[in-house]
């Protein structure tokens, strides 16, 4: 079963942040379907739509891997199932 999650990353900007997060996602056999990223007043904000097959990775594994990356590069990374956004903002 294919699962879509939304990854949000927030923190002070520096080189290689997008690459670091995307690299971890790729290493987990997950796919970045869409990405948007901005830097304002030195703050890096990135939103990724990421999908994966549950036979290849799980949400927990992805969360743990990205938590590790977040600590390494100084980002606060949240991984949430897409349904929470659909439910909150759409009927």
């Amino acid at each position: 079963m294919r699962t879509t999650v939304i990854v949000t990353a927030l923190g002070p900007d520096r080189h290689g942040l997008l690459a670091a997060v995307a690299g971890t996602i790729a290493a987990q056999n997950a796919n970045v379907d869409d990405v948007s990223q901005t830097v304002a007043n030195g703050m890096f904000t990135m939103i990724m739509f990421v999908s994966f097959d549950e036979t290849e990775t799980t949400m927990l594994e992805l969360q743990q891997a990205l938590a590790g990356t977040g600590e390494e590069v100084g980002l606060q990374i949240h991984v949430q199932h897409e349904n929470i956004f659909k439910y909150m903002h759409r009927i």
Partner: protein, 454 residues
């Protein structure tokens, strides 16, 4: 794929990370009617076994959903059939044994509270009801997780004043029995008018007679989210403010709906209700008082507080009912004192009084809630306070409840630390005017007329 904008995603993240949006409780209601037996030891065995059989996955499922959606699910709880309807007999000792069985089951499952050590006596007592009420002080003092509630009034039956006086005695007895812990036992007892059968909030949660075998009821929260919306719009008129609160509550409630759907499916339980109450906690920024103050009141308790609460309560319900068709429970804003840092501060300063809180009871979802009163309060004074709260519920056809804590050995102005979600608050002054002759009349205040409603 549904298109979701960057702003919407960041709004959700901000609500959770910065504004304390959470699901306050996922409460599993379990029917215990089939646990009835002649022998109370058999009842205890059946009760323990059934709660474990139906509830053992509650905590892991709630934690799974918490990780999946990134929303904290603060409490996992169990409510059961009012115990007075399950246990036959008039021996209070038997009811205490059942309380221990409930406590043991709750501990085994890993929930912090189990509600339903309860009776409904608005019209009168069965032998079992009387025995259960007599057992409440010992049951609460000897257990950690058991919560008790007694419905003493309803719009259809009136107020059972004998029961009101009994509850006053119960509260004083529990307070004395737990005096070394700031009388915390009294915080686990609610006296109700028009008790809802599907309330997920403690201490008043029960799984009522009309409920299914097993259900999942979800309590939303999020005062911090609403507070930020209100504070961010200091100059808009009330109609626009109400709209903003409705829109925000819609989003909060949708989170509850999602969690309720998935939890009930995963647990093989019927989806029950979403309780639209804004429940504060002692955490900074998680306060209903701060919402009211953000509307323009210097402190909650100032003139206009009741009107502000009325607007908030109504807007929360309107927004919530758009978001789910399964509303229930208490559904409104809570105004507890010790559990809400803003309320406690206003009470300490003397701006918020019990009389003002009583007026606010008419437009909120519970009543005189988590209010610490002097330990030397008389049984008649306490009974009078409970009766006043019941009268507001009875006349207005709404649920009201009293959770009053007589702090033994404490006097007005002393600070009482109840701990955890119970918070801390000052001992509040109560009227010392006598009411003994009124309370001593006993009997029942008749049910009110439902027309000519001025």
């Amino acid at each position: 794929m549904v298109f979701i904008t960057t702003e919407e995603i960041l709004e959700t993240v901000r609500m959770i990370q910065a504004e304390n949006l959470d699901v306050r409780a996922v409460t599993m209601g379990i029917s215990l009617y089939d646990c009835a037996a002649r022998n109370v030891d058999d009842v205890c065995r059946r009760v323990y076994k059934k709660i474990l059989a139906r509830g053992w996955r509650l905590v892991p499922v709630a934690l799974e959903l918490q990780d999946k959606y990134g929303v904290p699910i603060v409490n996992r709880r169990i409510s059961v059939t009012p115990i007075a309807q399950v246990v036959a007999g008039d021996d209070p000792e038997g009811y205490v044994k059942v309380a221990h069985a409930l406590d043991a089951a709750a501990q085994e499952i890993g929930v912090d509270f189990i509600g339903g050590f309860s009776a409904l006596v608005q019209k009168g007592f069965t032998r079992g009801d009387a025995a259960l009420i007599e057992a409440v002080p010992q049951a609460i003092a000897e257990t950690e997780r058991v919560c008790s509630s007694v419905n003493v009034a309803s719009t259809r039956a009136g107020i059972n004043m004998d029961a009101v006086l009994k509850m006053s005695d119960v509260l004083l007895a529990v307070a004395r029995a737990t005096a070394e812990r700031d009388s915390i036992g009294a915080a686990k007892i609610v006296t109700f008018c028009n008790v809802p059968e599907d309330n997920p909030f403690m201490a008043g949660a029960v799984h009522g007679a009309g409920e299914p075998e097993v259900s999942i009821n979800v309590a939303i929260s999020g005062p911090g989210v609403i507070r930020n919306v209100v504070a961010g719009n200091p100059d808009i008129p009330f109609t626009e403010l109400a709209d903003l609160i409705k829109r925000t509550t819609f989003k909060i409630t949708r989170v509850g709906e999602l969690v309720a759907r998935e939890a009930s499916e995963a647990l093989g339980a019927q989806m029950g209700i979403i309780d639209l109450s804004l429940a504060p906690s002692p955490k900074v920024g998680d306060s209903v008082a701060e919402i009211l103050e953000s509307m323009g009141l210097e402190r909650v308790g100032a003139p206009g507080s009741t009107a502000a609460l009325a607007l908030l309560n109504d807007a929360v319900k309107k927004g919530g009912t758009m978001a789910t068709s399964s509303t229930g429970g208490l559904s409104g804003a809570f105004i507890p004192v010790s559990e809400d840092a803003g309320m406690a501060r206003a009470a300490e300063e003397g701006v918020l009084t019990i009389e003002k809180l009583e007026a606010m009871t008419a437009v909120c979802s519970l009543g005189l809630d988590m209010i610490v009163v002097p330990g030397d309060i008389s049984r008649d004074c306490l009974a009078g306070m409970i009766a006043d709260v019941m009268a507001i519920g009875m006349i207005n056809g709404k649920t009201t409840g009293a959770r009053l804590i007589p702090a033994i050995g404490k006097k007005v102005g002393d600070q009482v630390k109840l701990g955890g979600l119970f918070g801390a608050g000052p001992v509040m002054p109560v009227s010392r005017a006598g009411n003994e002759a009124f309370i001593a009349r006993g009997g029942r205040i008749p049910a009110p007329l439902q027309s000519l409603t001025n």
